[in-house]
């Protein structure tokens, strides 16, 4: 029995380090696909790891006006995001800490990380940081209600807010083509794009002061602080991709009772789905243009409308409204 416990513990630990290891690769795939579609050669797939290694080696310069918050924020943001990313079920649904992988807890962890990032952006007192923080909070206030509506829709469908429980439900009920689920999928994709600062909302590769959101907040960071923040943003991308996979395409995920061999199959399937998702994101980013900041409320409003419609329809199907 204790041996079993050790294996369970190792599997959970493997998942924690797996998301950390694969995150720069996923970002590398997105960048590579974008570059190839623009007929550029693009950076090598492993550039993310090299960037992080380089930043970790460099000296970290901190502004005179920075408080302790500025120094503490990167580690905290990284820790919060890592915990959140490690909780999302990836290759197996019945891991040791799956009871903690509650969607509401996930939203709370990410919300805390974002609040810290916005505070850190304003801490040094430069104008860019303030602009970035204000825009980030605008996006957050619009994206978070939509996210909560999606969560509630899934909770109504599956009867639980636990991610592993939702995944198990959708594995057990194949091809549940429901209108409310289709709507919440679209809404979740929009929220994921907004939260990860991907193209229609924010462009992660430019430093153009008119448009940048995420980059404006972290402009004052350098060295290992920057490395932590970059790693957190890579992790967040993997988190949202895993979340989409876990909620809407959980097929091939190892069930709770699967042993090591089941986990390995689940791992291969999950990695393939993750890389496919990253490639799709690259294609999407090449095919559309960045929006003006003032059009963002409309774009995120669509996510809210879809989330709301989804929850209405979920109620209707079950006939709960009295």
């Amino acid at each position: 029995m204790t041996g079993d416990l050790v294996v369970q513990f190792l599997a959970q630990g493997a998942q924690m380090f797996l998301v950390l290891l694969i995150a720069p690769l996923a970002v590398g795939v997105v960048r590579r696909v974008k570059a190839r579609l623009m007929r550029r050669r693009g950076a090598p797939l492993l550039q993310g790891y090299r960037d992080l290694a380089k930043l970790l080696r460099k000296e970290s310069i901190v502004a005179d006006s920075a408080s302790w918050l500025f120094r503490a924020a990167p580690s905290l943001i990284f820790a919060l995001t890592w915990v959140a990313a490690a909780l999302v079920p990836s290759f197996a649904s019945g891991l040791m800490f799956n009871w903690a992988a509650d969607v509401v807890a996930l939203v709370a962890l990410l919300g805390a990380a974002r609040a810290l990032l916005a505070l850190a952006g304003m801490d040094v007192g430069t104008s860019f940081g303030g602009i970035g923080s204000s825009r980030e909070m605008m996006i957050a206030t619009l994206a978070e209600p939509a996210m909560m509506l999606i969560v509630l829709t899934l909770a109504i469908a599956a009867g639980t807010t636990r991610l592993a429980g939702v995944a198990d439900f959708f594995i057990a009920e194949p091809l549940a083509v429901r209108v409310s689920l289709a709507l919440s999928l679209v809404a979740l994709i929009i929220v994921a794009l907004a939260e990860n600062a991907r193209i229609p909302v924010d462009n992660p590769v430019t430093h153009l002061e008119l448009t940048m959101v995420h980059e404006a907040m972290i402009l004052e960071y350098s060295g290992r602080h920057l490395a932590l923040i970059e790693a957190a943003s890579y992790l967040k991308l993997v988190l949202y991709l895993s979340l989409l996979i876990c909620l809407f395409a959980p097929f091939g995920m190892a069930p709770a009772t699967a042993g090591v061999s089941g986990w390995i199959v689940g791992l291969l399937v999950w990695s393939a789905k993750l890389l496919a998702g990253a490639a799709l994101l690259g294609v999407w980013e090449v095919s559309i243009a960045k929006m003006r900041v003032f059009r963002l409320p409309g774009f995120l409003g669509v996510a809210f409308v879809f989330g709301f419609l989804a929850i209405l329809l979920a109620f209707l199907t079950r006939g709960v409204i009295q």
């Binding site: 209108v179 709507l183 409309g298 669509v302 409308v305 419609l309 209405l312 109620f315 209707l316 409204i321």
Partner: protein
Amino acid sequence: MTRGYEISHLLAGAMLVTSFALLYQERIAAVLKTFAAQSITLALAVAWAASSQDRPELFITSLIALCLKGIVIPVALHRTVVKLGIHREVEKVVGVGIALLVGLALTGLAQALLLKVAQGTASHAREDLALALAIILLGFLMMIVRRNAVTQVVGFMSMENGLILAATGARGMPLVVEVSVAFSVLIALFVFAVFVFRIRERFDTIDIEALDRMRGDTR
């Protein structure tokens, strides 16, 4: 059988989404494209109902929806718009955000109403009717919140899309009625078009606010 209902609900849900897209669009050309998408989705939904419920006469309805409302009417309206030179931004009475929120409220209203009214019926019929009613109400809303005559015509047509969806879901409407409804809508479109041109000749604009002056209301 349940798979059949799930797909028909998916198509009806897609129509509801295009209804919201109609409220969201800011340019007349985009509105017309969205309307064409809605009509094609309607044609698909009707065709699916025809094949899954074994009612071949519905294929004719589907074909009418596809040809007339998916292709002919959007193209005709597009030509009108180009001829009038108004394919710029659409003037709205209220902002997009408010329109979408009111749309959500109307959808909720439609569903609450249907749950009350159709309490005993099967849940799939209820869901179909609720979606259709929501599309009809959103068509009304579109006619209310747009000032431009062409987009009001589109609102009217999308309302009619909702009616046809409801009719196919309720397995009742005879083919004769359907054909006559389709043609009456086409005639209504001609009447609308004539009106639009007359309004434009008289006032040099198709913004219906200009009619207020005619009536004596001033703003």
